[in-house]
């Protein structure tokens, strides 16, 4: 008899637990967000701002915890996510475009753009062409003419290899038919310092950082398809007659690794864009001078596809054998 009661109890408990498990909607515990860069960098900083309201009931209802996995320009984190990362829906990944796609094309790591399911995009930071305040080159036309007259002699820097700034440099070389010497720096602020102090002749850098520093440098043009609200007077390259599109724009957002449950994806694509548009997020992003650009999963997927197509052409010659 005792055994039978015990059996029934176990059965009952089991079924209760089973019901509880099934009824427990995603997410039932905190979610990790893998950030591929060091704490305090622009991506980490913005990821922390946009993820702040995640704990509210109308969004995820669970906090999002930032986990930094820096290294190899982002590849360490993205490789880890694809190879070892959890597919239970509790591991969100922050992507940086065009870095992720450019690295997947050039270095052939474990991931490609197709390894990820886009959830939502929060930021878009176009690259701008900057020169030191004292530079004799005052506009893009003078810059291109000088570079034509001195092939390979113009030094231009950016935040590293195969990041948006590098892509923009390659595009400018192609569009204007010039040869530049690209200097990869350790990060965006290091690149700025070299431009301020005339150690290099020009640079591509983040619009968000450049517009705060117009005391020390001149901004010649934006590598995007339209002008930016922060810098209404700065023309785009297209306006000036150079065929440079938005392939170098630094997009940031959430994605999942393929294979995550549909329930998690459905929930995340619904709440993430709304969370990025939360008034508190909008205010903090604006105060810190970080350009916000919220896109839902469909728009983000479109951006993934178009950047991939453009970069495959642009980086064809750089692919490692």
């Amino acid at each position: 008899m005792k055994k039978a009661i015990l059996f029934c109890l176990v059965l009952l408990l089991g079924s209760v637990a089973g019901v509880a498990g099934a009824a427990d909607p995603y997410p039932s515990s905190p979610i990790s967000l893998i950030v591929a860069y060091t704490p305090g960098g622009a991506t980490d900083f913005q990821a922390r701002i946009v993820s702040m309201p995640a704990g509210e009931e109308r969004y995820f209802g669970q906090p999002i915890v930032i986990v930094n996995k820096p290294g190899a320009g982002g590849m360490t984190a993205w490789n880890w996510c694809v190879e070892k990362g959890g597919k239970d829906g509790y591991t969100l990944v922050s992507y940086n475009m065009p870095h992720l796609i450019a690295q997947s094309i050039v270095s052939k790591p474990s991931f490609t753009a197709d390894s990820f399911i886009p959830v939502a995009n929060w930021g878009a930071d176009p690259a701008v062409l900057i020169v030191p305040k004292k530079s004799p080159l005052k506009n893009v036309k003078e810059f291109v003419e000088y570079a034509k007259a001195n092939p390979g002699k113009v030094t231009i820097n950016g935040a590293g290899l195969y990041v948006g700034h590098h892509i923009a440099t390659l595009q400018l070389e192609k569009a204007a038919g010039i040869k530049l010497t690209y200097i990869p720096e350790k990060g965006g602020t290091d690149a700025f310092q070299a431009v301020y102090s005339n150690k290099v002749m020009a640079g591509f850098n983040n619009l968000a950082d450049a517009f705060r520093n117009t005391d020390n440098l001149n901004i010649l043009a934006i590598a995007d398809t339209k002008r930016h609200e922060f810098l209404p007077d700065v023309p785009t390259f297209q306006e000036l007659g150079y065929d440079i599109d938005d392939a170098s724009v630094n997009y940031r957002g959430y994605c999942f690794v393929k294979g995550v449950s549909q329930e998690a994806v459905d929930k995340a694509i619904k709440v993430a864009p709304a969370m990025f548009n939360d008034p508190m997020v909008v205010k903090k992003m604006k105060e810190s001078g970080s350009p916000l650009k919220v896109m839902n999963n469909v728009e983000t997927q479109k951006m993934f596809n178009s950047q991939k197509a453009k970069l495959e052409v642009l980086l064809k010659d750089l692919v490692k054998k």
């Binding site: 060091t38 704490p39 305090g40 980490d44 900083f45 922390r48 701002i49 702040m52 986990v67 930094n68 996995k69 820096p70 290294g71 190899a72 320009g73 590849m75 360490t76 490789n79 880890w80 050039v106 270095s107 390979g152 002699k153 113009v154 030094t155 590293g160 290899l161 195969y162 010497t181 200097i183 990869p184 720096e185 350790k186 990060g187 602020t189 290091d190 700025f192 310092q193 070299a194 301020y196 102090s197 150690k199 290099v200 950082d209 705060r212 520093n213 005391d215 020390n216 903090k284 105060e287 810190s288 001078g289 970080s290």
Partner: protein, 508 residues
């Protein structure tokens, strides 16, 4: 200067005062935990300042930065692991002092030294910002390259008379730092296994090289030592210890100069300053042979100059948005989140916040020192921990500290592997400090050389790019001088030893 004094009053509000206290206590704790470097501490706290007003938030970040750099000395002295990268040079003499039972004095010296350095660094920030900011901008790839070469010449001083082995260790350290993707060319180097793809980060290397040999040494002795010395807090040693600073005035002055210069140079932080000044102190000393065996002056040299970098690193940050150290780079996020953009506006429109922040940094130095001294008084508690428990705790701290740098288990494997290698190396009398120096300076030297070479090739050519210009020549001269002095010192000590041996042989 006056502006800062005027804003000192703002610190007296209850909220700001509590935050200052909390930041100092927390900072010392962060600093003492291996792996939780000052950079990490500030980065983790930036999001918390979202909810504070700008002044309070910045006071918190500033006080944590200051205390974390100093707090690293605790672990360095008591258990021979640099709690923060800046305290590498501190352990070279700090731990031998602790072994002799002078841990309490070593910590008194470390915190009073930190106070002096910290205050001088902040005073440089208050008084000399305009000229020094311009100086920071004159450091390009070639200048940074020569600074790192100057740092490398310190190897002789860290080798304890085993120059060849020290040089070998330095080269090994540089090779270790090459592992992973080349930042300049994007090529993977020495990546024999996926574990190594992201390279060997500095903090795991530091922990592995210092902590693991230490644990293995303790383990080897554990059966020998049945009864351990019982340490008691010593009374009346504080003033005699502090009074000795008068003898060390030269080290203190040079330490401040080194710290402030290294602090404003973007790309080199407290660890470089500490090591360079340690070496200078050893060279200037009348008894260089005592360094490495528990010489208090070595602790002073390291701690004065690593804390002098803190205020100085903020000079280019606040004026130009160019951080003078990795921690200052993270602090930039703390400014931006409140809409404070570096530049003239910070000292005009937002002067109220900025000067209160700087005043907070100044006061934080005293809080840091006070809390540190209080801790030193009770440091015997850690020294009395039985070896078996100590070994286990050090291993746990080492694993946690390594893992939390990049949340990467591969780093833990690398840390243990390096530690084992260093243990075997130490058995053959290879000193560990030069290896660490190579790990720290290798990447700076390599990247700045390649970057300089790329720029030079478009312009004046590599030779004239690296060998002309005042700062380049100055650092070349300093490097040659340091190397010559180091070699001469080694040589004369060697001869003295030989003479002594010959004399004792003759006597026998």
């Amino acid at each position: 200067m006056l502006e800062t004094l005027q804003h000192m009053g703002n610190l007296l509000s209850l909220g700001n005062f509590l935050v200052l206290l909390l930041g100092s206590v927390g900072g010392i704790f962060f600093g003492a935990m291996p792996g939780l470097s000052p950079t990490m501490a500030v980065a983790l706290l930036v999001p918390f300042t979202f909810y504070m007003d700008a002044t309070t938030g910045l006071i918190l970040l500033g006080s944590v930065y200051t205390s974390a750099v100093a707090g690293g000395a605790i672990t360095a002295v008591l258990i021979n692991i640099p709690g923060a990268p800046a305290s590498i040079a501190t352990l070279l003499d700090g731990h031998p002092m602790a072994k002799k039972g002078e841990g309490q004095q070593a910590l008194y010296i470390a915190f009073v030294g930190s106070l002096i350095g910290g205050v001088c660094g902040v005073l440089a920030l208050i008084l000399l910002t305009p000229p020094l900011a311009a100086f920071a901008l004159s450091f390009g790839p070639s200048e940074l390259f020569w600074v790192s070469v100057f740092g490398i010449t310190v190897i002789a001083g860290l080798s304890d008379g085993r120059l060849i082995k020290g040089l070998f260790g330095g080269v090994l350290g540089m090779l270790i730092s090459c592992i992973g993707y080349s930042p300049m060319l994007g090529e993977p180097r020495f990546v024999f296994h996926d574990t190594l793809i992201s390279g060997i980060a500095m903090v795991p290397a530091l922990i592995g090289l210092f902590a693991i040999p230490q644990v293995l040494d303790l383990a080897a002795e554990v059966h020998l030592q049945v009864t351990k010395n019982k340490y008691m807090p010593k009374k009346g040693v504080f003033w005699p210890t502090v009074r000795k600073f008068r003898e060390w005035w030269k080290t203190v002055v040079i330490g401040n100069i080194v710290g402030i210069i290294i602090g404003i140079i973007p790309g080199a932080g407290g660890q470089v300053a500490g090591l360079i000044n340690y070496d200078q102190a050893r060279k200037m000393s009348k008894h260089p042979e005592t360094f490495g065996t528990g010489e208090p002056e070595g602790v002073v040299a390291s701690e004065v100059s690593n804390n002098a970098t803190v205020g100085a690193a903020l000079i280019p940050l606040l004026t130009l948005g160019v951080p003078g150290s990795p921690t200052a780079a993270v602090l930039l996020g703390g400014l931006l989140i409140h809409g404070l953009f570096p530049g003239p506006e910070l000292f005009g429109k937002h002067a109220d916040i900025t000067y209160t922040f700087i005043a907070g940094m100044l006061v934080a130095q005293f809080f840091m020192c006070g809390i540190g001294l209080l801790f030193a008084r009770y440091s015997h508690a850690i020294m009395n921990i039985p070896n078996l428990i100590m070994m286990a705790s050090v291993v746990i701290l080492a694993v946690i500290g390594t893992y939390c740098v990049q949340n990467n288990m591969d780093d833990v494997i690398v840390m243990f592997a390096l530690g084992l290698l260093m243990y075997l190396g130490a058995k053959a009398e290879f000193p560990s400090a030069p290896v660490v120096l190579g790990v720290i300076l290798g990447p700076i030297a390599e990247e700045s050389f390649l970057r300089g070479k790329m720029i030079a090739e478009t312009d004046v050519g590599v030779f004239s790019y690296f060998f002309t210009g005042g700062i380049n020549l100055l650092f070349i001269a300093l490097s040659v001088g340091s190397l010559a002095w180091g070699l001469y010192g080694e040589h004369s000590r060697h001869r003295k030893r030989q003479n002594a041996q010959a004399a004792s042989a003759a006597a026998a």
